[in-house]
Symmetry: C2
């Protein structure tokens, strides 16, 4: 697997990754009935630098096993904090795709001059994600009670995660 910047040519492959996440509605605050064009416009919004994780043996739309965006989480005095959103294809879970994307995003964020990474809303029921991000050095800095409406569990907590990317 390798990770590279995404382009318009990747739209089909990225949509195949995003659609199951959007329809499930369990991890991202996106409308469950969001349409392909709106979802891709959201993912590729101007402030987002988008990447794909691909299976190098089969470079077709089907070979995209994950995607993420990197952006500034805020502006001006808080513009040195980055934010990412990562999605792995359901068929590719358990293969280290999310970890590889996360570690890649830290490097890319450092290259761009960001000094920290913040995840604003990790749904607390998504324990696998919380643990994975912790193993990548992200720390739980806070818990937002009932901040996410889960389609089957109702109002559940969300976790704010954060880490510095530089030492000085």
């Amino acid at each position: 697997m390798h990770i590279r910047p995404a382009g318009a040519i990747d739209a089909d492959g990225i949509w195949r990754v995003l659609e199951p996440m959007i329809r499930a509605g369990e991890t991202y605050p996106l409308p469950q009935d969001m349409r392909r064009d709106d979802a891709l416009a959201h993912w590729f919004q101007p402030a987002h630098e988008v990447f794909v994780a691909v299976d190098p043996l089969a470079e077709t739309a089907e070979s995209i096993v994950g995607t993420f965006y990197l952006r500034a989480n805020s502006t001006a005095g808080a513009g040195h904090v980055a934010n990412c959103g990562y999605v792995t294809a359901p068929r590719a879970t358990g293969r280290g795709v999310a970890r590889a994307m996360c570690l890649f995003s830290f490097e890319r964020a450092r290259e761009r001059g960001f000094r920290a990474m913040q995840f604003n809303l990790v749904v607390a029921t998504n324990q696998a994600a919380v643990h994975l991000w912790q193993s990548c050095g992200m720390e739980i800095v806070g818990r937002l009670p009932k901040a996410f409406r889960h389609p089957t569990n109702g109002y559940v907590d969300a976790i704010v995660m954060y880490r510095l990317l530089v030492d000085d």
Copy 2:
């Protein structure tokens, strides 16, 4: 003092409140050299419901002693969490303006169906604000190390504050 929705007629008065905050650069992640038109466009962006606190004895631009916006902090599954930004005129500090705006915003947020209020970035050096929001029921849920670049203190922590607005 009373609080009412803001309109275009309030632009001068709101700018008189915003400009000292923007030029100081110590509390909001806005460029210190931000121009009047850009600042007002930011404050009145479509997703913001804007209010002013006015001195009822002198309803002129000079009588605006504070302003705040109310918006959804996120979308879809997290769209029930509100967010506000409040600014008090320097000449009006210590008179309960910020507290009145905060309590008013909770009521307005409830009216609009929001179930919680979140402040994403309270600069930790702004201890007066942290204490004031706590006295209004906001709780510190997390601390983001070095998340804000203070113009004189360098990188300082930021506080995430949150409260539920409904009991059920």
